[in-house]
């Protein structure tokens, strides 16, 4: 009898988790079932991170294990993956700033919390945010930045969203190394999140998901 994939992955036991996946695939198990277990394991990882039982290395390592599981499962998959139940969130590091570690952690946490995350990457021009809001009708936008230079870039991005007539339809959160509530006011954002956990709870609040 195969051990519990959910628990093994959530406990970051890489070799065991991969062995379970192989065993289940060899036994002809439904690949979607495996992915569902993996994704609920990632939810547990996210919860443990929120409770400060897990730290950034645990998130990153769980992501690495998940990547390997996906590699094993993918060849057996027929159709598309499941649709995300949470709302849509657009995330990007603002123009002029190419830092991504913090942004990637927020993307990870939103993703495991069930959000449909549109990650625009780094050095994202204001127009790209505006276009993506138009294309996706996302209600939540996350602006990331590490440098003091990002303050103005965030401000300009939010002004561009406003000029496009989209400000009332979107909630905007900011985050990053030198951000604060003062910078939230300066940029015209709706909220500042000091870490990824706050980012997720803001997105939940704004989209009305639990």
């Amino acid at each position: 009898m195969a051990k519990d994939l959910r628990k093994t992955l959530a406990d970051l036991k890489e070799d065991e988790a991969l062995a379970i996946v192989k065993e289940r695939l060899d036994a002809g198990a439904d690949p979607m079932g495996i992915l569902n277990d993996a994704s609920s394991a990632m939810e547990i990882v996210g919860e443990r991170f929120s409770k400060s039982e897990y730290f950034i290395p645990d998130l990153i390592y769980s992501g690495e294990i998940l990547k390997k599981i996906n590699e094993l499962v993918k060849p057996k998959l027929s159709g598309e993956g499941g649709v995300k139940a949470g709302g849509k969130v657009i995330i990007g590091t603002v123009a002029g700033d190419i830092h991504d570690i913090g942004k990637d952690i927020v993307v990870f946490m939103l993703d495991v919390s069930g959000f449909d995350v549109i990650d625009l990457g780094v050095d994202v021009p204001a127009k790209k945010f505006v276009d993506t809001i138009n294309e996706t009708s996302a209600q939540v936008v996350g602006l990331s930045g590490f440098l003091t230079l990002a303050y103005d870039s965030m401000k300009q991005t939010i002004e561009a969203i406003k000029a496009a007539g989209l400000r009332d339809k979107t909630k905007i959160m900011i985050g990053g190394g030198q951000m604060s509530d003062e910078i939230k006011k300066y940029t015209g954002a709706d909220a500042f999140g000091k870490d990824a956990v706050v980012g997720v709870s803001l997105a939940r609040k704004w989209t009305g998901t639990k």
Binding site: F55, I56, I98, H99, D123, T148, G177, Q178
Partner: protein, 449 residues
């Protein structure tokens, strides 16, 4: 009688380095001529103030003040970071204006921008800089990557210099491609067959690499000429430079430079023993790097930017196991040679403060960014001098009065008993000049003991 360096105790070396710092030489090795007796007095007073704050044996006359910017002096002088990196005269002009206008007790020289053309000649990939991956108005930014692959720990451990030469350097400098073909130099030991080792130097890719190196060397020399003249000028004007150079915590060497954040974090699970062994191997090299720079500059302070050990980046156990032991060893190695480590705890390090307090008293100088400063005073502050904590956001969007109030509160919290220097907490690009003035003024106003 002057004792030979090797015969001195750590304490004597420590004092000897401070003595060198306070009595600077000109490029010919003679006593530097100050611009005026007032400049000489100001220089010596600032260093004495900093020294007293670091050593924690007696109170300085007042709380010293540092201003530690990134590209702020360029913006302040109305030039772009790109201009600061490519026009060394403009760079020096900007940093000189910055120092003369704000008059801090300690400054970082004009080294921050670095020589743009040099990076270009060697096709540097570890960073994007203005005009090369980021806009001319932006500061340079790191391109993290797995420049060392997960399976290369043994090569690094076996011979770090050889690994850097053959593998790491060609990956981060496009033009050092030819280094991959170089011989292992420790194989050059005998008459017989010795010429074989030199064959690579006859090959076009290696020669192209050396051509680039000659050009890069010439450019580095040109830049250093400008920096040297700048240092002499601001020293003669009475303004001390805080640090001689830098070294790093071994975990950050692996996490920033070689394996990247993702790489080093995954290695803690998949190959912890290799990671620990590699850091042990790097430790004496990092100690030597700091000591050599301090000796060459005749200056006691060596900067250590800290990155991947911040709050949340590691669990407590991971910090104790992977980050702290070799970081501490590097600091102790510097201290043994009289050098003062100056770690900059960038971001939040509140959960690390207690662990990092396990150090001898009066030998370290800590830059604190957003960590809980009251807790820092009660922990590290008991053994080491603290500076920083004036937040970047306050300097950008606050008012001068808010900055003054913040600094006053900092002085109330931290300055009692000495061991505190007023300063910004993170190397900043943007700020309202009046807020930077307010920070310096507040130190002078409220910081008198």
């Amino acid at each position: 009688m002057v004792k030979e360096w090797a015969e001195m105790t750590s304490e004597e070396k420590h004092e000897a380095l401070f003595a060198k710092w306070i009595a600077p030489k000109d490029p010919d090795g003679n006593d530097l001529k100050f611009q005026s007796p007032q400049a000489e007095k100001a220089f010596k007073e600032s260093i004495t103030r900093i020294k007293d704050a670091i050593q924690m044996k007696k109170l300085p006359d007042r709380v010293p003040v540092f201003v530690a910017p990134s590209f702020f002096p360029a913006y302040y002088a109305g030039i772009t970071p790109q201009e600061a990196m490519y026009d060394y005269d403009k760079c020096c002009m900007a940093f000189k204006k910055f120092i003369m206008d704000f008059e801090p007790d300690g400054n970082l020289g004009a080294y921050v921008p670095g020589p743009g053309k040099f990076f270009e000649i060697l096709d540097y990939k570890l960073y994007s800089w203005p005009g090369h991956g980021v806009a001319p108005e932006q500061s340079y930014q790191c391109n993290e990557g797995e420049y060392m692959t997960a399976d290369e720990y043994d090569k690094l451990i076996e011979d770090p210099s050889n690994y850097f030469t053959h593998s790491y350097l060609p990956r981060v400098f496009g033009k050092l491609d030819g280094f991959q073909m170089l011989p292992t130099l420790t194989g050059i030991v005998e008459m017989y067959g010795v010429a074989m080792n030199f064959i690579p130097f006859g090959l076009p890719p290696v020669q192209a690499t050396y051509k680039a190196l000659f050009d890069a060397g010439a450019e580095a020399l040109k830049w250093m000429g400008a920096m040297g003249a700048f240092n002499s000028e601001i020293t003669a004007a009475g303004y001390p430079i805080i640090a001689a150079g830098f070294t790093k915590a071994p975990f950050d060497v692996v996490g920033d430079t070689l394996r990247g954040t993702r790489g080093v974090m995954v290695d803690m699970y998949r190959q912890p023993d290799k990671l620990l062994e590699a850091m042990d191997r790097l430790t004496p090299l990092m100690i030597k790097m700091g000591i050599d720079t301090a000796m060459m500059a005749g200056h006691p302070i060596i900067f250590m930017p800290l990155h991947k050990g911040a709050d949340g980046f590691l669990s407590d156990e991971q910090f104790k196991k992977f980050y702290w032991p070799t970081f501490k060893k590097v600091m102790m190695g510097l201290i043994a040679e009289g050098v003062v480590p100056m770690p900059a705890a960038e971001g939040h390090w509140t959960t690390r403060l207690e662990i990092m307090s396990d150090l001898p008293k009066g030998k370290t100088l800590w830059m604190i960014d957003q960590s809980d400063i009251a807790k820092a005073k009660k922990t590290i502050g008991k053994v080491g001098c603290l500076f920083g904590n004036v937040p970047s956001d306050l300097l950008v969007v606050g008012t001068p009065q808010q900055v003054k109030d913040y600094v006053k509160n900092l002085i109330d919290t931290c300055a009692k008993g000495g061991g505190y220097i007023v300063s910004n907490g993170a190397f900043f690009d943007q700020a309202k000049p009046e807020n930077v003035h307010a920070m310096v003024d507040a130190a002078r106003e409220y910081g008198v003991y």
